[in-house]
Every structure is written in structure tokens, then in C-alpha cells.
């Protein structure tokens, strides 16, 4: 806080302080009848004003401190200045299309102050920006607490320390203290007791599976013993003696080769198997058509 700002606030705070009658008469506006508009300060008000003055002097009043900072902002260090500018310029909020309208094309944002030497170099991303002293202090405090978790963390990093502790426990859970034998046995018995208690719930699906299997087996046996009850499927058509006789049987492949032309002494095997497979594929198609009842 600059001296000038302190003086200004002290003057404002002490404006209700007791003054001499002559001073009050000279400075206070008067009514037409000559009576002062503000009544004299009471003793309580004077005490409050003095307390406020002391608070202002020591910087304990938050509102006053904020007003002072707005009235006469202190100089930022060069590191803080660059870091804050870099983070602001790399913020997605500033680069979003919604904010790319006239509001951001105002002269204020294109003023020489924002395009001075500090920003004339390569643009820094938020990750590349230097940490501020406050951040450095917080990181040091967090590191100290991580080195000694038993100690209470610094108030400025309390929430970060809590999160770090949770993450550390999740990643490297600490071993449980040795349990007494009886306690261990009690835990095991209790856990097994829960499992046994949950077993009856599994009986329903197991029983249903067994019943389904029995039903399927019974249906299969019924189909086997009484094929006439089946619907007219392809397999049913094949079961007829007429259809069976119409199907092309498996047989020698000699008919596929010229009996007057023996196989060459070497080679030709692939050509022969090609011919056999092609012929039998045609036979299979014919059998399927016959099974489906296609003439």
C-alpha cells in the first residue's frame, strides 16, 4: 500500500472524528437557520473510527485492502506479469468464437500496452508460463507436506494436500497393520458367512438351467422317437426314401478324368483336386436344392 493511498483512506476514515467547533462550523454545511446538518459524533462512533483507522493502517480490513488495490494497484513482478498475460491469452475462453465478437476487437485490447515488448516475443502457453511466487510457495508447502504427511499441511494447500493424500493412498495403499490372529479369523469367518448367506440366491438360476436342460433333452428324445411330428424342414424332406434316392451320392472321381489319358508322372495334382472340388461343389448344390424340394 502506497503512502499516498494510506493517507487518503485515513483521511476518509477520520472524517467523522471530533473536531473543534470552529473547524466544524467552517467545514460543515449549515442550514438556513445556521445549525449543522450532521450531529456531532458519539463516543461509540469515535471508537469505531479509530479502530477502523488502526485496521487500515495494519492492512487488516479486507474491503479496504481491496479498495486500495483497485485505487492504486501495486506493481506486479515481471514474472507474475508475464505469467498472467500468457495464461490469459491462452485461455480457451478468450479464444472461443463466442468471445470473438466486437467486445474483443475493442481498442483496449489492441492497445500498445498489450502488444508491447513483453508480448512481442514467442507467445507463451499457460504451461510454459513461469510460476508466480505464490504458486512457488504453495508448491513448496505441498512438497513439504508430502515428505511428512503426519504434519498438518499449510493452510494454503490444505485442499490440495487432501487430494494428494487420497491419490497417494489409491496408488500405493498402505499395508494394513498386523491383525491379531483371532481378529483375522473372525473377519474370515464373517466374510465366509456372508458368502454362504448369498448362496441361496444362486440356486434359482442353477435350478432353472437344470430344468431347461432336462426340457431340451426331453424334446430332443421326442423328436428322435417321433420324426413325423416335426415340421417339414429340409432334414425332414431328406428322411423320405424318395428324396434320399434323388440325392447325389459320394462316389469315385474317376469319371472326371479321361480314362485314356493317365495322370502325368509328375505334377498336375492341384489341377486334379481343383476339378474334383468343383464337381463335388456342384453335386452339393444339387443335393441342397433336392432337399429343399426345388425341381
Amino acid at each position: 500500500m502506497t503512502k499516498r493511498a494510506q493517507d487518503e483512506l485515513l483521511r476518509l476514515a477520520l472524517s467523522d472524528a471530533p473536531r473543534s467547533d470552529a473547524e466544524a462550523a467552517a467545514q460543515s454545511p449549515s442550514s438556513d437557520e445556521g445549525e449543522p446538518l450532521d450531529p456531532p459524533a458519539t463516543d461509540e462512533e469515535i471508537l469505531q473510527a479509530r479502530a477502523l483507522a488502526e485496521a487500515l493502517e495494519h492492512g487488516d480490513d479486507l474491503l479496504a485492502t481491496a479498495l486500495l488495490s483497485a485505487l492504486a494497484p501495486p506493481d506486479l513482478g515481471a514474472v507474475d506479469h508475464d505469467a498472467l498475460i500468457a495464461r490469459a491469452l491462452s485461455s480457451p475462453a478468450l479464444s472461443s468464437p463466442a468471445l470473438s465478437g466486437p467486445a474483443l476487437s475493442s481498442p483496449a485490447l489492441s492497445s500498445p500496452a498489450l502488444s508491447g515488448p513483453a508480448l512481442s516475443g514467442p507467445a507463451l502457453s499457460s504451461d510454459e508460463a513461469q510460476p508466480t511466487p505464490a504458486e512457488q510457495h504453495a508448491s513448496e508447502a505441498l512438497r513439504a507436506w508430502l515428505d511428512d504427511p503426519a504434519a498438518p499441511p499449510d493452510a494454503s494447500v490444505a485442499s490440495a494436500a487432501e487430494l494428494a493424500g487420497i491419490l497417494r493412498a489409491a496408488n500405493h495403499p498402505a499395508s494394513l497393520p498386523e491383525l491379531p490372529m483371532l481378529r483375522n479369523e473372525a473377519l474370515i469367518v464373517r466374510a465366509l458367512g456372508r458368502k454362504r448367506a448369498a448362496t441361496p440366491r444362486r440356486l434359482v438360476p442353477v435350478t432353472m438351467a437344470a430344468l431347461s436342460g432336462l426340457a431340451a433333452a426331453a424334446a430332443a428324445v421326442a423328436l428322435f422317437l417321433n420324426p413325423a411330428a416335426d415340421s417339414p424342414t429340409a432334414s425332414h424332406i431328406l428322411s423320405g426314401s424318395g428324396a434320399q434316392a434323388a440325392l447325389i451320392p459320394s462316389r469315385s472321381t474317376s469319371e472326371l478324368f479321361d480314362p485314356a489319358t493317365p495322370f502325368p508322372r509328375e505334377g498336375g495334382e492341384s489341377a486334379r483336386i481343383d476339378r474334383i472340388a468343383t464337381a463335388r461343389a456342384a453335386d452339393l448344390r444339387a443335393n441342397r436344392y433336392a432337399a429343399w424340394g426345388v425341381q
Binding site: Q244, I248, T253, R280
Partner: protein, 207 residues
């Protein structure tokens, strides 16, 4: 209850599996059902041992055989006889449709003949002879396949004779040469029989 539930479920599933197997593979009403998959015949053998029609299982084997022979062709183009032999060995040693299907027997016999050719070209005459014996056991009737196997036997013995002669074992080489001549003569006889049978069959149809 839990002790009873697991055996009960197992028994039910076993009964279901037995019923399905009996229905799918042993039903006399469905020999060689072309609409059934190849696995049906390979997992549950037919009860009567017959599969008399062309079905997907037979086609699956023929497709596998065709792929194996073409694989061997590519290997031989790359002068990789060992790889070709492996491809054909996998075919003759692999699964085949149950029953004595003529197509399976003939294709396997032809594959044995090719294996004997390849192995004898590598100097492995004994293994080639074993392939020929296995092939001849499959092609017992006079046919192009049996005649081809006998002809390859002649080829194997001819190569053996040359190898033995190169080693200076003239006596064994002479025996192998005679075996080759005998094999070629037998092959000629078989082929003549095939032609005669074919002509007879054609004449019977013409009458």
C-alpha cells in the same frame, strides 16, 4: 441345496448333450444331411458308419485338400520343398470325414503320391516308400490313382537307383532299377485295365 444343484445341472447337461448327439449324428433318418454343418459329422461319428451322399463335410475336406496342394505349389515355386511337404503332411494327417468316402480316399492317395515324389527328390526314399504304401492301401481298385501311385513308385526306385549308383553301390542300384522297371510295367497294366473297363462301361451303356 448347493451340493445337490451342481450334480443335477451336470446330469441335465449330459443328458441334453447325449440326446443332441443321438439326434444329430445317429439318426438313421438323416444320413449325410447336406444342410448340416461339417462339425456334425466330425464331433459325433455316425452310428452306421455310412455317409453316402455329397455333403458339406466332404466339400470341406476337398476344399482343405485344394488349399494344401496350392500351398505346396507356391512353396515349390520358391524352391522350398520342405514347406511343401509340411503342407501336404498336414492334409494327410488331419481330420477327414468319417466313413470310407471314395473322394477322400482318392484325394488322399493322390496326395501320398505327391509326397512320395517330393521326398524321393530330397533323397528320402524310405519315407517316400511309406507314403506309397499308405496311398496304395487307399486305392485298391484299378484306377488312375492306383496307376499313378505305381508309376511314382517306379520314379522313386529310379531315383534311388541313381543315388545308389552315385555312391558306388552298383548291386543295390541294379535292384532299385529293376524295381523301377517292374513298377512301370505294373502301372501300364493298371492303366490298360482302366481303359478297358471304361470302354466296357461305355459299350454297356451303348447297348
Amino acid at each position: 441345496m448347493k451340493r445337490l444343484a451342481r450334480p443335477a445341472a451336470s446330469a441335465a447337461l449330459l443328458a441334453f448333450a447325449l440326446a443332441a448327439c443321438s439326434l444329430g449324428a445317429c439318426s438313421k433318418e438323416r444320413p449325410g444331411d447336406p444342410t448340416s454343418g461339417p462339425a456334425a459329422g466330425s464331433t459325433c461319428a455316425p452310428c452306421d458308419g455310412t455317409r453316402t451322399v455329397v455333403d458339406p463335410t466332404l466339400l470341406a475336406f476337398l476344399s482343405k485338400a485344394r488349399a494344401a496342394h496350392h500351398r505346396a505349389d507356391l512353396a515349390m515355386e520358391a524352391a522350398d520343398a520342405a514347406s511343401a511337404i509340411r503342407a501336404l503332411d498336414a492334409l494327410v494327417a488331419g481330420a477327414a470325414p468319417p466313413g470310407a468316402l471314395p473322394e477322400v480316399a482318392e484325394v488322399t492317395a493322390d496326395t501320398r503320391a505327391r509326397l512320395a515324389d517330393l521326398r524321393s527328390a530330397q533323397g528320402d526314399f524310405d519315407a517316400a516308400q511309406r507314403d506309397l504304401d499308405a496311398g496304395l492301401a487307399l486305392a485298391r481298385e484299378p484306377s488312375h490313382f492306383r496307376g499313378h501311385l505305381i508309376e511314382v513308385r517306379g520314379l522313386v526306385e529310379e531315383r534311388r537307383a541313381k543315388a545308389l549308383a552315385a555312391q558306388g553301390n552298383t548291386e543295390a542300384a541294379d535292384r532299385a532299377r529293376k524295381a523301377a522297371v517292374a513298377a512301370y510295367e505294373e502301372a501300364i497294366t493298371i492303366q490298360e485295365k482302366v481303359i478297358a473297363d471304361s470302354l466296357e462301361a461305355a459299350g454297356g451303356k451303348g447297348r
